[in-house]
Symmetry: C2
Subunit: 201 residues, 2 copies
Amino acid sequence: MKASVFVGTSLDGFIARNDGTFDFLPAGGGEPHGYTEFMATVDALVIGRHTFDTVAAFDAWPYAKPVFVLSSRALSPTLPGVLVERLAGPPAVVVAELAARGIAHIYVDGGITIQRFLEAGLIDRLIVTRVPVLIGTGIPLFGAVSRDVLLTHVATRQYASGLVQSEYAVRAGSRAAGDVPALVECETRPGSDASPDAESR
Amino acid sequence: MKASVFVGTSLDGFIARNDGTFDFLPAGGGEPHGYTEFMATVDALVIGRHTFDTVAAFDAWPYAKPVFVLSSRALSPTLPGVLVERLAGPPAVVVAELAARGIAHIYVDGGITIQRFLEAGLIDRLIVTRVPVLIGTGIPLFGAVSRDVLLTHVATRQYASGLVQSEYAVRAGSRAAGDVPALVECETRPGSDASPDAESR
C-alpha cells in the first residue's frame, strides 16, 4: 500500500497556528495546485483526532473519500452519508488493516499523524506546498525522527500566487521502524480496551 | 542598505544539528546553486558568535568579504589577512553603523542572527535552499516572530541533486519592528559597557 502526504505549510513549516486555525493559508485552498488531482488518486484518508475535530466543525464535510480517524475515543457524530470510521493502534497495524481491506493508496493528514507515520517508515510520498509567510509559532508539519529520513526530490512546481510545491519520495532505505506486526497480534486480544491495537479491529 | 539571507536547510528547516555540525548538507556546498554569484553581490557578512566560532575552526577561512561578528565578547584570533570585526547592539544599530560606513548589501548568516534581523524587520531577501532530508531536531532557521512576516515569492530553482532553492522578498509592510535608532543615541553613551549599543561604536 502507498501512503502520501499532501499538505500546506507556512515557509517556517507550520500547518496551523497553535489554536488550530490556519488563516495564513490561502482561503478556499488558494490557487489550484493539484489537490483535486491528488485526491482522485487516493482511496481513503487517515487523519488524526485533532484534524477530525477541526474538519467536523466545518459547515460542510470536506472529503468525498472514506476517512479513517485515529483515536482511542468515540467520534462526534458527522453528517449523514459521511464515510468515517475510527481506528486505533500503531501506524503499521493501521496500514496492515487498511491494506487487508483492499485500500491501495492512503492520504495521511494532520501533524501528529504525519509525524507518527513518517517515524514508522510508512510514508512513501510527501507533497508540501509552502505559503509565502512566516508565522513564527504553531503546529509543525515535521517532528522528531529517530534517524535521518532521506528523500528523493521528484518535482517542484511554483504558482503565480507565490505557492511553491515540492514533491519528495521517501527513500526506502532511510525509513525508521518498519516491521509490520502480523494482524493476528491484535486479533488475539479483541476484547482488551487496554490494548490500543484492539480498537483497530 | 539591503540585507539578504542565503542559507541551506534540511526539509524540516534546520541549518545545523544540535551540536552545530551540518553533515546533512552536501559536502563542499554541493552542486553549484548560486552561492558564488550571490556572494559577489554582497559587501560584507554579519554573523553571530556561534557561526563565527564554527567557521573559525575550519582549516581555511571561508569568506573573502569583510565579516562583522555580533558578540559582546572578544573574538578568538583569526588567520592573518582575514577581515573580521566585532560589533554589538541591536540589529537596527548594527545596520545603521554599517550603512554609515558605506556598506550597501550585507549577508546575514547564523540562526539566531537571522531570527533577530527578521524580527527587527531588517531582512530584505531570503534565499533558502532545501536539502532533501529530514533530521528531526537541530538549530532552526526560523524562530518566533511578533507578527506574521509576509513574503513575496521571487523565484524557485531546482537542481539535479535534489536541492530546491526558493527566493523571497520580505514585504515591507509586514516587517515587525522598524524604527532605526538615530546613531546619536549610541554616540551619547560611548563609555557605558552596560549598553550593548556602545560596543558597536
